[in-house]
Symmetry: C2
Subunit: 316 residues, 2 copies
């Protein structure tokens, strides 16, 4: 039996997992990231987590064919260099080679959103599909794509960065500096912005009443208001779902994937949300419903990134 | 020396070309398509064109490793079946196998827009680049992508169909039935629609005067009015270029290609147009100017489809 290790380098925690050939996550270990302690500290910790996992499983390092690291930021995969990762304040650091040297195990790196997509592809919501896009709806809108038997992650670019593709050119301000990106309409931040506007416009709405009680609007209470029948919240969610359907139609027309998996905070909403978004998407699929991708909620939660990182050696 | 044959199946003509290993187009032969005469007639002609090319070059069929056919419509490449091609009124016809049987030469099929992109990639404007998108601006907006050493053409879809991705969701009516597609803003049809509106709004504009003289507005005379300094036409072209830059930024953010090649009628405009669109695009490239793709006009004209079809065996 051959094993691989996946490491998810987050802003808060570094999580490592031991994965077998069938992409089962056998064990996990984690430490605080502590970005301020620097590159050597963090890569030392990655080596220690690896040693811990091997020891607990009774494995020799020769039984592990590779370590995969999912990191935020932009990277040069060929050299294993992390070009920049804003929240770690790292620039041009040799992440792959450093961990490879400290562990004696071949080490590959990739973007964390790409790893999450690969995790859902090999072991989660898209495990039955030939190709997939993971669209993560949270504070922002993230994306990762697996197609043609590979992670779609072209060298010398940050693509696929589908949160920053026009949905309404010239429209709402996006965090990236442009206007009208998908993220400026489909993130929780966008939903909360629109809910606050709706509350301003309709002081009788449940949204406005929540605010009067001192509750800040958030994804959960906005959805709750809509489910309880508040007309302003319902209109907001209807529009949110409609635009998401349109965006997913765009993803299909561009990438022709067999499934789209919805990740991030919104995946808690479950089947009703998938069904509504699917109905909204179908009219926007250029080739018609027979080519419409399946739509599913992500299944693996935070483990997706670890499992996907562990799968990198077979999908780069 | 090994040769391949590329066939471009158009609504008006069937053009076949003999191509060498360096993607030089050595000879071409063509017949009228005459779609009304049916599938056998057209595939017989493809075999005859192949025989003509071999005879004129003094080649035996064993010296030709494959025939590639670029066809409009949707296809199943694995079986060589053309699923539908509206302007030929063909449904589920065995295009590849029929030509293979009639010629005794292995035959591959692909979408004609994909073949044009591949032609510019192997022998035209993107011959120096690792990856590219061809965006064709004509009556509609077409697209083809080469990345990771392959034509990006996922099975079971019409993707990439970038003309039918949102630019302004809910905006102008598109021919596909949706609103706000890139094609509804960036095609010549869209430009002419907008020029007619501008002429309606400003009877003093050169655009309005052209119409008064009985000239229908078209791509050429709209661009000419702008170049001659007519304010209404200039404003129109400025907006057209701005939206094209935004769209090309989207293409980059989604696909991370090293170059974007502009094909179709607009490619006659040349370098000034490329420069203006490049300047308009850069602010929309998520990863910043260092990741901005090169922008070039297509070089091969109608030969791109023939040369790309001849290259299929190496890029599927």
């Amino acid at each position: 039996m051959n094993y691989t290790i996946g490491i998810d380098l987050g802003g808060t925690n570094v999580v490592a997992g031991l994965v077998d050939e069938e992409y089962r996550l056998l064990d996990k270990a984690a430490v605080k990231t502590q970005a301020q302690l620097g590159f050597d500290y963090i890569t030392d910790n990655m080596a220690k987590l690896t040693a811990t996992l091997l020891e607990r499983a009774g494995l020799a390092k020769e039984q592990v064919s590779s370590i995969g690291i999912g990191s935020p930021g932009a990277m040069d995969r060929a050299s294993g260099t992390l070009i920049f990762a804003g929240n770690l304040d790292w620039h041009n650091v040799p992440l792959g080679p450093a961990v490879e040297k400290k562990t004696g195990i071949r080490t590959l790196i990739a973007n964390d959103a790409d790893c999450a997509a690969l995790g859902e592809f090999v072991a989660g919501a898209a495990a039955e599909d030939e190709s997939m896009a993971l669209i993560t709806i949270g504070t922002g809108v993230g994306s990762g794509i697996v197609t043609g038997g590979h992670l779609f992650s072209p060298a010398g670019s940050c693509a696929p960065e589908l949160g920053h593709v026009s949905l309404v050119a010239g429209g709402e301000q996006c965090t990236c500096g442009r206007r009208g990106c998908a993220e400026a309409y489909l993130s929780f931040s966008a939903l909360i912005r629109d809910a606050n506007r709706a509350a301003d416009a309709d002081p009788q709405s449940s949204l406005a009443r929540l605010r009067e009680k001192g509750e800040a609007l958030n994804g959960k209470n906005i959805f709750d208001c809509a489910k309880q029948g508040d007309p302003a919240a319902k209109a907001l969610i209807d529009r949110f779902i409609g635009l998401m359907g349109e965006f997913f139609g765009d993803v299909e027309n561009a990438f022709g994937v067999r499934s789209i998996v919805i990740g991030g905070g919104i995946s808690k909403e479950g089947d009703w949300f998938c069904r509504r978004v699917y109905e909204a998407m179908v009219p926007y699929v250029f080739a018609g419903e027979r080519y419409a991708p399946k739509l599913r909620m992500a299944q693996l939660g935070n483990d997706a990134g670890v499992i996907g990182a562990a799968a990198l050696e077979r999908y780069l």
